[in-house]
Symmetry: D2
Subunit: 396 residues, 4 copies
């Protein structure tokens, strides 16, 4: 056993040890084998909690083909350890290029999956491009993120959605919990780890006040920051205002912020004009799915010199003397410089995934090729499992 495998096993062991809901589902899956005969293609951020989901699905009888969904969100030791599991093939690597990543998607599709679990909508987009007729056995997919669900809805609107898709992100147990409390804690964990800088008394700009943004703001305030919020949706802005944050225009926020965090789902939310306004010493981090929210290409063009300041922190020295610090190359910061969402949060989100896959295995033939909600009884079942662990008196 290589060192990497040992380290990967240790991480998976720790994660699975703190995922009681996964373990409970896996126990039932082992008996009932609801996924027997299924080939599941999985494109997720490959770290220990994701490995645990893969193992749960494998317990249900499926064989899995696993790729990364984001170049910097793969932990290679975990990938190596997971690949040892019976029935699971792993084709993922940290730091793949966009081209390699597309090749992995195609390799996944060549395994003729019957079900797909994905994060970001790239696989379904590829299927739509190639044509569903090529994937006769494919029954359905479940999608993890806001970004991916927006992609599904766009495909549906255009009449191009090829298969029934469960929008896991739209479940209340997902976006109310994972996007808010998961992103909030893990993003700040990553920023603190990368920088060792103080948050109290600093100005933090949150760009995008959706569920992720709400969590980022909540935890920023919890660390003693003064929170600045901006959003193109005025109603979200009013909500931020009432919550006690200062609502600012994007340009005012950029001029004042010590930390800038993006959670918009939009490319170049922080583009050249915003980078021009940023304060000397600003810390820039992205909490959205894709690494395009901060325009790193422009930042690189603007800089005279680029240095690694600390692990995961890159300093861009501008001709006017300012230095802007970018975390995790602008990729999803909680995964690129830390370990992603807290384990217990992913236990919840992946319980929805595992049960949605089971639901698709049983019911997909009867479902139209539309975007579907996670069935209510799955949500309530998962909620009860959470409460039985964390708040037993509620159910007493």
């Amino acid at each position: 056993m290589s060192d990497a495998i040992g380290s990967g096993r240790q991480k998976i062991h720790w994660a699975r040890g703190h995922m009681p809901i996964q373990r409970e589902i896996a126990t039932r899956f082992r008996e009932e084998r609801p996924l027997a005969g299924h080939r599941i293609g999985m494109s997720l951020h490959l770290e220990a909690k994701t490995a645990s989901l893969a193992m749960t699905l494998a317990e249900g009888g499926a064989s899995l083909y696993v790729i990364e969904s984001n170049p910097l969100a793969t932990q290679d030791d975990v990938a190596a350890a997971l690949a040892e599991t019976e029935g699971i093939t792993v084709n993922a690597r940290r730091g793949v290029s966009q081209e390699e990543h597309r090749e992995h998607i195609d390799a996944l599709l060549e395994t003729r999956p019957t079900l797909i679990v994905e994060d970001g909508g790239e696989v379904v987009e590829r299927i739509a491009e190639v044509g569903i007729e090529r994937f006769a056995e494919l029954k359905g997919l479940s999608e993890e993120t806001t970004t991916g669900v927006e992609q599904l809805l766009s495909l549906e609107r255009d009449g191009r959605l090829p298969i029934p898709a469960i929008a896991v992100n739209s479940a209340r147990m997902k976006h109310l919990i994972d996007n808010r409390y998961g992103t909030g804690q893990s993003t700040w964990n990553a920023i603190l780890r990368a920088t060792n800088l103080l948050v109290a008394g600093k100005q933090v700009l949150i760009i995008g006040y959706g569920w992720c943004g709400r969590g980022l703001a909540l935890r920023a305030a919890g660390l003693g920051a003064r929170v600045l919020v901006t959003d193109i949706d005025e109603i979200a802005a009013v909500e931020g205002l009432m919550q006690g944050y200062e609502v600012v225009s994007l340009s005012e926020g950029m001029r004042r912020a010590d930390y800038v965090i993006t959670a918009t789902g939009q490319p170049s939310a922080v583009g050249r004009p915003e980078l021009e306004q940023a304060k000397d010493g600003v810390v820039l981090a992205n909490a959205g799915h894709f690494g395009f929210e901060i325009d790193v290409t422009e930042l690189r063009k603007m800089a005279n010199r680029e240095t690694v300041s600390r692990d995961g922190v890159r300093g861009f020295e501008l001709p006017d003397g300012r230095t802007l610090y970018l975390l995790g190359e602008g990729e999803l910061v909680n995964l690129s410089v830390a370990d992603g969402h807290p384990v217990e949060i992913m236990d919840i989100s992946f319980a929805l995934q595992a049960l949605s896959q089971e639901y698709l295995a049983k019911n997909a033939d009867a479902l139209p090729a539309k975007v579907h909600r996670v069935p209510d009884d799955i949500e309530h079942h998962v909620a009860r499992l959470v409460l039985s662990t964390m708040s037993p008196s509620f159910l007493a």
Copy 2:
């Protein structure tokens, strides 16, 4: 001018002075007269902010007939002052019986309204009972509360909804703002005023973790309380847990709480069994629309003796020696013992109402007899008006 009228005028003057959105809409209405020829029946909690809405609608050209929507939520001095306004008839009084209240509803309907603004769904229920054919000129209504919108949806499901209805409460600018931040501040204002007791270090039970409950919990924590949350919906309970509150069963919460606040929309949420469990000295308050959430009839049966402890506080002495304190007779506490929502909150909610009435006046003939959302552009328009006052740099 009687003293009451003077006092009512002063209150309306103060409220309208702090309602810049109302004033801006009124200025346009005065020119455009979009409600000319309309007879509007209005059933709302009649205090100064409501009077301001009535005046805005009157500026739009409507004549109004105004009744109370809740027995203890009428301020008689405001009613008297409002009645002086040209084009506005007031038939409302604090402390009316349920029978008188029903008579007022019938009196309102006898004025053959063309539009209705209401709070709680009683008027539309009465129309459905009597038959829409009796109200040929009636075009539509707009409804203010969660409770009333549930009533509308129930009528729609049963095929009994007689007219197009705009669910103002379903607007994000309404339930995200008014239900949460309005209810949160004003309910605690009422409790502090009525009791002069300490909140810090006390246990507060919030029954019902919807938008109102979220606001009640937020402000309880902001006052230093330890917050206990319960809800029949497990998903809401998980959300409360992640927010940092303690999630408990209703019976555990009743046994421990120093303050109990209901926001469920359900009759007898605190019924005999819960009252039996309450702690000596507990303070009971209702933040839901109807005065039925705490079962006052049962409480009265249980008590040996009933005393007025302070204005708005009634002590019920039980045979076992405990005393339970009920605020504002169990009616909506922010209105029965204080002045209702903060002025600026109602400026927002009533801006939605005023613009929804204008929208119905223009478009109701083309709308099916269904529950409709407030049009998006109305919401965004109101949000921009809020930001222009409270956060001008956002729009800079």
Copy 3:
């Protein structure tokens, strides 16, 4: 019995019912009579909780002579009800002039008190003026406030302190609790009651970040405000910054704030220059002991016109069109427009007072004429009594 006496009795009954520590001390005092033979002169804000302290001291065997310590902080109905108690003489009235108030102080001194309880240091200052030789039987005093303790220390430094004085305010159980959590809750209760305006999303300027200021800021943030802090002490300012507030200069704060609250102990903390900078519509409130922190005389000079906007709210219309709203005439706002500190807070502070009076009765002859701390064992005893009521598991 007059109505006022009935209302005063009801208030005292409610307060005493929520003061378990007072009741426990009173029970022991009734048996031990530690104050037998003493004449206690009391100058405190005369409302229901103070009445309860007077009753506790009377149970200990003392006769009392009670005057107001602040013109607007007397509740006449409570004064009337208290005057009915055996052994207690009351000479206090709401709205006395400064001259009458000085006459009351002199009348108190003419009763040849053996002990004094006071709030603000005016009585001890008067004794120092008149000469201690006139008060041969006077053994000591206990002082309630920051302002009064500063006065005592100033007298001590000048060699003019005539008698041993216990600085109750310096007790941790006093300033950490009463000044912070008592002032925080009760001041905001008063502001909400007086104005019915929204706090969430507004800018609140706290002038003076001592223990009172910390409590005011904490509760402002708890209500959703953006908090601006200023203090002449830079170290206090850094602390406010780290707590997450925005630290500003006084003039910037005045220009931006929607609410301004003073807690400095200094005359004219908000003087003419600050009033000139205030925003149209600003709400001005004072949370310090004396009514001189906001310069009302200057405000009156600046105004064209003065109106009563709501109970306890006076609008000052300036020639430039701005209106500034002053709460409770600039006197201590929690007492002038509401009911003062929460009952349970005063139960703690007055337990320290009652036990300090007992300590003086036993030990004052042996104490030098200096400022003394509340003995540690009194503080710990009171702390245990608080915990036994509010947190029984701690002592289990």
Copy 4:
């Protein structure tokens, strides 16, 4: 240049780049050379921020001899890089035994220091043991921590304090800021990094509600935890209660907590009886200076098996099936598994140190061998420097 030196240099560069106050003092020191001719013995947690202080002192003209103050709080790469600086000798290594650490203290003393900067009071204790007559040139010392200051006061009470000592920890700018906001952020950073577990909705027990404990509780609540507080001082417990935390006995806290953090300064605050009560899966961390607050020896005796679960996390499997997780071997967790306090916090604390050393160099001959406060003008000067960076409008 070895890799370690490169990595150490990078860390020091980052830290010093975010320490504007150090840089400002160093600039003046370089000109004025106030420490010329001094030999400073330094015993501190040796990581990048400490290195920056050493460099500031060296700029002042001193030669330095630097040892570790705690076995796990040395970063070897930083030690290597610092050792390259002219005038600085480093004798520190991560993971030294207690015996080696004592040898380092003696080696430091053999350099005949004229001034000492230390953290924890071990050097001064050793001087008192050996006899001050051996250190004729030694003028004074400055001490960083609560623990060390208590040691100084104990030596002073026993008449054994050999030299004048400045209690840097007693400065308001130190304990109000560093102990609270520094410990609060950095301890949680360490726990999140080590565990990747969720904090929201969990129960966190803070043992010891002093300035460190207050910061730990504040940030725990900011992360969404339910905070349990215990302290042997009942007054501190009441303060925790009023702040909104649940005050519990130590044993109840141990039975309920998901995370236990010690900040008591006491050995075996969590000893065998407490470990017996801990919940399966509990995470144990120490935030106090010495690694004796959690009794690791007993924990080891209790366990069947010990495993490394993640970097910095050791699992102790007990015969009854429970596993208890200990972070950073029970040593100060923010230093043993993370990078210590945020840079800007140490910029403040070390500014006090640098200026205290300068003060001692100038004035120690005139100072008695007592514990002295940091002079007020040093504190205010540092406060103004903080505000000039973080809140420029305050000073405008």
